[in-house]
Symmetry: C3
Subunit: 202 residues, 3 copies
């Protein structure tokens, strides 16, 4: 449990960094950058918990998450030039982030007694909806509709976790396996520019 | 009650189809199409229930709604060319959908003990907000701001239901009357290109 | 308490007017204008209460708020030409509105037992998120990202209130002081076109 808590804090920290960097060419002020980072970091988990009625929301019940976000924003501010050069590293952090958040979201949903189908959807929502809300606010086409195998990698990983769990795989190995699957699917898709077929073009 | 349940499932099925068809010219992949269909189908009812604090949300508490949505997406995938020719038929299904969802939303809100005014607003929200969320995500001007007498037909039907209910009309006849009113208002408005006056152009 | 209630009703009334005027050049119909006014007026408080799980939402539990919004829409309709000339006066009303709503939001959050950090964020959300949702629906860049010192003035006022409260300032004086601070910061920023530094331009 302590490991999970640490992972969640680290995930929020990295999501805040990726949010603060996402608006770098838009001419927003500091406040706008901080707000964007905040929404990116808390959006997915908040939407999940509001849909499930799981109150209080994680960051509202535990102020440590707010400080992890502030730390991410401050870190981005202090090391901006350094981070801007690190695009590839950051892409890796975002990928790690969606991997962890998907499976943490699945587990939380199951622990509240909801169905497997709902758990799979909520796992994906936890990981990607922060970015979707951010993109909607900044008038971008949401990441979901643009990127190679992004949310679908999360959904695939969530389903894999549920299937392995059904067949009795131990939680630790399942966690490792499913998160790795999400990360590998995403990395391979970006590397080889794979994407799902276009809808309606037949 | 069984009839209402069947109608809700059918409504969700048709909303999913209309969502999956809505993005046909945007070059989204399968996942984006499925996501759009999903949001269109569950958005209005989910927002209504989150505003009312009526947990669990319908599709989270009853997995049958998820399968109705999946069926709608699969159906659209299998019969894409056929459906794309059927624009007029689909417009009819969407119109049937908003008629049913409006009155179902009104009844649910009343059954939870909220006021008549809130019931009218929630009826309209149930019917149109799925489409509004879909349009916001895909960077369109929401349907609400574009279409001839769309949400206003729902609001008018909701008010009609509440007035008739106040004067003691039996539920079955009231249901039929109000849903028909929404459908007729909408069909007449589209047929004769009627719209409400433009705001602020005086 | 009676004063606070009156202020809230007046605030909602003015927010509805500012929402109804915001779309004047967009060619929306009456319904679209009313819908926009409604969302502007209830959006911030609704999002705050949904995030906190504070049910029922203010306007759902007390129908007087709905009538204050309808009154604002009707007022704008009747005195449209007059109001359109009054841009500066309206800017003043919006500024008064965000001042009051910020501190009311802080107090409500604290009264529900949440932390100071959450109270500051919820105060700001109460004041600005109605406008953000309105701008997102109408495909504008949210006010938050455009305006000189807007949401940041609210956040500063919320923090000031919390600091003064910590040091034992009486509630009445604190209320007056914090609301005045928000209004003055905003007015000075607009007057002298002050803004926070641009993010990432170093």
């Amino acid at each position: 449990m302590d490991l999970q808590y640490a992972l969640e804090l680290i995930g929020v920290f990295f999501f805040a960094i990726s949010g603060a960097l996402a608006i770098q060419d838009k001419g927003h002020d500091w406040f706008g950058a901080g707000f964007t980072a905040f929404v990116t970091a808390i959006g997915g988990g908040s939407l999940r918990d509001m849909l499930l009625g799981a109150y209080p929301l994680v960051w509202i019940g535990n102020v440590a998450f707010l400080y992890a976000i502030f730390a991410g924003i401050l870190f981005t501010f202090l090391f901006y030039r350094f981070l801007a050069k690190l695009r590839k590293t950051l892409f890796l952090f975002d990928t790690l982030g969606i991997g962890f958040f998907t499976i943490l979201g699945v587990e939380k949903t199951l622990s509240l007694g909801f169905s497997l189908e709902v758990a799979a959807i909520m796992g994906m929502f936890s990981a990607v909806m922060g970015g979707v809300i951010r993109d909607t606010l900044t008038n971008e086409i949401p990441i979901l509709f643009r990127k190679e195998v992004y949310a679908s990698a999360c959904l695939a990983g969530a389903v894999l976790y549920l299937v392995c769990s059904h067949y009795g795989l131990s939680r630790d190995i399942n966690l490792l396996l499913s998160i790795t699957a999400i990360i590998v699917i995403r990395l391979v898709a970006v590397k080889y520019k794979l994407s799902l077929p276009v809808w309606g073009s037949r």
